[in-house]
């Protein structure tokens, strides 16, 4: 690993329903100050894993792990208050759709400043300064003006930049981004990913980027974790993706359509083969 101080260290994490159905079936991974993509289809357990790292799972889910450490602390037994201390200060999250994640009744400045109000005691003037600086850092024009605007006046891409500003304003140690671009237009997606990736690198943070589009996120990460049906079936360096050996990773890597593939059919998953492979691995 590039960095000795592990930000996340998880061993045998299991998330299940009350009736015993396991949704995440015992996964291990650790990461330091690096950019890692967590890739999988819907239902693979990638979002549940990310939410467990934020303490955001509903009470109806059953979580257990042999080791569940964030920034060196065993956080699984944390209560809401302790989580609140951690979230927004040490750990931050960017969600899928800014339309639903931003409060429509509050202006942008207030929402970006909220983590500051909660976690630091600053004068109003310093706060405004910080907010404007942050809005500028996420590439939004005219921070002073933007502060007074409301979410409905922003486009999706701008909304996601605001979300990012909220997440980063307290200089957290790491950022979890759950499908941060899937609600955005295609043209804006790369810009937002580029921004997340460069900000994380500048600030020497850890990034866990969750996505179903392996090809798109590969450029913005150093390492890739692949999940399938609750298991971590493959992990490799992003640079190794083009010669991945696991058939699932291979298909995910090559199934995106483009102009060169016209006339041929796209590679699709052979789910039976993968099922037999994962069973072999679990044994």
């Amino acid at each position: 690993m590039t960095n000795n101080s592990s930000l996340i260290r998880i061993e045998s994490l299991k998330i299940g329903l009350e009736d015993g159905t396991e949704l995440v079936k015992g996964i291990d991974f650790s990461m330091g100050r690096e950019r890692v993509a967590l890739v999988g289809e819907s239902g693979s357990g990638k979002s549940l894993t990310a939410r467990s790292l934020m303490g955001l799972l509903p009470d109806s889910l059953h979580v257990q792990a042999d080791r569940f450490e964030l920034l060196g602390e065993a956080v699984l037994p944390y209560n809401q208050r302790q989580w609140n201390q951690l979230r927004g200060k040490q750990v931050a999250m960017v969600l899928q759709d800014p339309k639903y994640a931003l409060n429509p009744t509050q202006n942008i400045g207030r929402q970006v400043a909220e983590p500051l109000v909660l976690h630091q005691s600053l004068s109003k003037k310093v706060r405004i300064e910080k907010v404007e600086h942050m809005l500028d850092a996420v590439g939004l024009p005219n921070p002073a003006q933007l502060r007074k605007m409301y979410p409905h006046q922003l486009s999706g891409g701008m909304g996601q930049r605001v979300m990012l500003a909220i997440a980063l304003i307290n200089d957290p140690q790491f950022l979890i981004a759950d499908e941060p671009t899937s609600a955005l237009d295609h043209a804006v997606r790369d810009q937002v990913l580029e921004l997340i990736s460069s900000l994380v690198e500048e600030r020497n943070m850890g990034l866990l980027l969750i996505s179903h589009d392996l090809q798109q996120v590969a450029d913005y990460c150093e390492r890739v974790l692949v999940m399938y049906q609750g298991q971590l079936i493959d992990q490799l360096a992003a640079s190794e993706l083009s010669n991945a050996s696991h058939p699932y990773t291979k298909t995910l890597w090559s199934c995106r359509p483009n102009i060169d593939k016209r006339g041929e059919s796209l590679p699709i998953l052979d789910r039976k083969q993968i099922a037999s492979l994962t069973e072999g691995a679990a044994r």
Binding site: E41, S42, G43, G156, D185, H186, A187, V188, H212, D213, L214, Q215, T251, L252, C255, R256, P257, N258, I259, K261, R262, S265, L266, P267, I268, L269
Partner: protein
């Protein structure tokens, strides 16, 4: 042969007594048998245009010829035209009635058309899209996104359309499932002599699927592109 011809078509949104023109003076033709792409950022009017072609938005002006008949603005599609133009919607979670089992959802329009061999047609449809036939008595919420989109495709194809409209048919799906659905659509197009109009915000998808595409920007056509 041109399946669709639009001349100076403008489309407005009507809200109460206000009219707001969102698509301006569009001219385009779609040939029979081609896959035609409509690309552009959200809010550019591509979906609005598609909903007019679907007969779901009658607030347009200009002239439209579809399937060799002139349309008149302000009227809904009826009869043969209604059945020959079908659509697959963007969000497979929203396009199937949540309280209807698949059997009911798929057989109701066939019953209205007076078909006798409905069960045979349904099982033929399931075969074509690669779904297990025993799913027919399930509710939509018991299916995955990809399976729902396959059901939506069966639903459209059962009426034997000449024109299949696709409103971002894969943007709500996983990348791996998108590949399966796009393969399926290509297959069907080859087998069934379908004309398709596909709206997408992903230029890669359009590059891969379409024979002819236009890019829209702020309610107007910006670029036209032919693939061969």
């Amino acid at each position: 042969m041109n399946l669709i011809e639009l001349n100076d078509v403008s489309i407005s949104h009507v809200q109460g007594s206000e009219r707001n023109t969102v698509v301006h003076d569009v001219n385009l033709t779609v040939k029979a048998g081609e896959c035609f792409g409509l690309v552009g950022p959200s809010g550019c009017g591509k979906s609005t245009l598609l909903w007019v072609l679907a007969g779901l938005n009658p607030h347009w002006s200009g002239s439209i010829n579809m399937l060799d008949q002139p349309l008149s603005a302000g009227k809904v599609f009826t009869g043969d035209l209604r059945r020959r133009v079908q659509m697959v919607f963007q969000d497979p979670y929203a396009s199937l009635h949540p309280k209807h089992r698949l059997r009911r959802a798929l057989s109701e329009p066939l019953k209205l058309l007076g078909y006798q061999d409905i069960d045979d047609r349904l099982s033929e449809g399931f075969k074509q899209v690669g779904l297990a036939e025993n799913m027919i008595d399930r509710y939509p919420h018991q299916l995955s996104g990809g399976q729902r989109q396959r059901v939506a495709i069966i639903r459209a194809l059962l009426l034997e359309p000449k024109l299949l409209l696709l409103d971002e048919p894969t943007s709500a799906l996983d990348m791996s499932v998108q590949a399966e659905i796009l393969n399926l659509l290509n297959d069907l197009k080859a087998k069934r002599d379908l004309t398709m109009v596909m709206v997408s915000h992903d230029p890669d998808v359009v590059d891969y699927m379409c024979d002819h595409a236009v890019t829209m920007k702020a309610g107007r056509i910006d670029q036209e592109k032919f693939y061969n």
